[in-house]
Symmetry: C2
Subunit: 347 residues, 2 copies
DNA sequence: ATGCGCATTTAAAACGTTTGCAATTTCGCT
DNA sequence: AGCGAAATTGCAAACGTTTTAAATGCGCAT
């Protein structure tokens, strides 16, 4: 095996052919004699020839990479999302031989500036954008640059068309409400975050819509809001809900981490789940299965979604479709033991 | 903002300078007049100039990327490792402006072939290799290619020198033994995997060494082995341990996922943890805190390790040090509630 | 004026690939 | 044998950058 990397020139010299012919032969051009093509292919295989990415990118304008900005997270925050997402994305890209490039944002560097750098340095042919904010400057930038991208999540106002895949949180939260209502619950709590992410609205609106649809004026909804990464504030907000004189009999959390905190605090307050309180989450993170009594939640199948996003993005890069590609994935209920009938005597 | 990407040529034309001068000015060469340098820098900033990665890579031979092959995992396996690792790696790389490229292996494609492709296509200046196998063809390949890499984990036989960072599993397992021995335990179980990864030996050897060090012939160790991804077999192996007429009073698991299964099966068998059985894991995954009664384990601080690996790799790429860079990170005990004194009447 | 040294700038080659166009070879046919 | 067309191959430019070596301009001493 050669210590140095083989180039087209070397291969051509060795075969007594021109670089052009070798290049064309490897690309499978019909105009090159079949016999030559086979001879070249075999020699390339033997030499372990791998085309140089940079050279190819330079001339073709295509890098074969899909970019993503590494989401910035708190210092000791366990984020099960990223691993799942990256794995799925990799799976979606591999069929077309694309690789993923992950660019981290340094301390004090905006996610947008990293994104700009990835786009404008020609590192990637397209990018994936996750966790859409209410006013998302990344989407605005990509649009005005007309750069291929697929968003995981949606903007609230549909003022411009783009490609997206989203998990139907609205539907899930409606489903959660209906299930709990049918179990006799009338007083609900929602634990949400204060960060301006669109998904919190979509989910909350889905819940509100289901309540409205039911048309029962006796239904009540209390909302507790806290910053996502401030554990203390989160606990406080939850306890305000739990320790109200008239507390909800069912709490729906924006995502599992919040739901797990609800269950912890409920236990601390001497409330039995689900006897005194039903809790439902969203995401189905690993810990949800282990936390007693087992959290009922919705599986967002991040990995599968990411895989589809990867495939969508490759389509977008290849075909530049006019109509936006959109896909709403319905999460599936994972029924564990954290929900049950409303406690009697408290409707 | 321009719709097209600015190039050096455009910038040069606009400034009435040669491409060479502009390039040098942006690189901050002393030989370019300070006034010119400032003028160029300002114009570049205004135009939003970002150098083209491919062109730069082609001429310099440096891509500014660090590569990693996306570890192949079972279809529905939640792998908290990857997210943590990738985040840490990103953090470690960002200071030098390097990005991470993640290449997935398609179905039926070996991890080695993907690695070869990444290396030989010039996509990356160095790579990270994780989960070292007993006979690891990736390491052999990288060595003979003399390609910069840092391994997360070690080979067992030190027949060739390379750069690595490893978590000191041997020490942790020794520590676990000492702690349990001092709590009166004499009969131990070890749950391990059948895959030929070096870390299982390192940890098991650490345990054995601690036992030997103690020199107490009454100490017994039973070992249960199962394939990593076969949940059924894992449960069987664990139950053989739990249902033996003379069962261990303390079980040490190779990593948390195994330990959690031990706790589940113990509960199913009517054994109270830690009263009837002590359990200790390794990794400190998120679920370990939630699984009752709270798993005692060792925190391997993946993210921090990955960060250091990133920094090490950048050093290796930049300096090509002669002496191998090595670092053994001691994991810290996370003492929760799954271990306690040996049950009386059973020594 | 001439030449010299210095500061500053530039021309041109190189990196490895793809591709438009042109050149060469082959071959059937008269 | 000669011709033309078809099949096959090759030349050279291009992609955007870095870098080597050389050129240019300028002030100053001779």
């Amino acid at each position: 095996m050669p210590a140095r990397v083989t180039t087209l020139k070397e291969l051509a010299a060795q075969l007594g052919l021109s670089i052009t012919t070798v290049s064309r032969a490897l690309a499978g051009h019909e105009q090159i004699a079949l016999k030559t093509r086979q001879r070249v292919t075999e020699a390339a295989r033997q030499a372990g020839y791998v085309p140089n990415t940079a050279a190819r990118t330079l001339v073709s304008g295509r890098s074969g990479f899909v970019g993503m900005v590494l989401p910035i997270r708190g210092p000791n925050l366990v984020d099960s999302f990223l691993g799942e997402f990256v794995t799925g994305l990799g799976e979606g890209l591999v069929s077309h031989g694309s690789d993923l490039i992950l660019a981290a944002a340094a301390q004090g560097q905006s996610e947008l500036s990293v994104l700009r750098h990835v786009v404008e340095s020609g590192r990637a042919d397209g990018v994936v954008v996750t966790r859409i904010a209410e006013v998302d400057e990344r989407l605005a930038y990509l649009r005005q640059r007309n750069f291929p991208f697929v968003a995981h999540g949606r903007l609230l106002d549909g003022d411009f068309a783009y490609h997206w895949l989203d998990t139907d949180g609205a539907h899930a939260f409606g489903e959660a409400f209906d299930m709990l209502y049918d179990l006799g619950h009338r007083h609900f709590g929602l634990v949400t975050i204060s960060e301006p992410m669109t998904f919190r609205h979509l989910r909350q609106d889905g819940l509100a819509a289901a309540i409205a649809r039911r048309g029962d004026p006796s239904v009540r909804l209390d909302v507790a809001t806290a910053p996502r990464f401030d554990r203390g504030a989160r606990i406080q907000a939850i306890n305000r809900l739990l320790h109200a004189t008239d507390r909800p009999t069912a709490i729906v959390a924006l995502f599992d981490e919040l739901a797990l905190t609800v269950m912890e605090e409920a236990a601390r307050a001497g409330l039995a789940v689900p006897r005194d309180l039903s809790v439902i989450g969203f995401d189905n993170i690993a810990a949800s299965a282990y936390a007693p009594p087992g959290l009922t939640t919705f599986d967002a199948s991040i990995r599968q979604c990411a895989r589809e996003i990867g495939e969508m993005l490759l389509t977008v890069i290849g075909n530049r479709p006019d109509a936006p590609l959109t896909r709403l994935v319905r999460p599936t209920l994972v029924s564990r033991a954290s929900h049950g009938p409303a406690p009697i005597g408290r409707n």
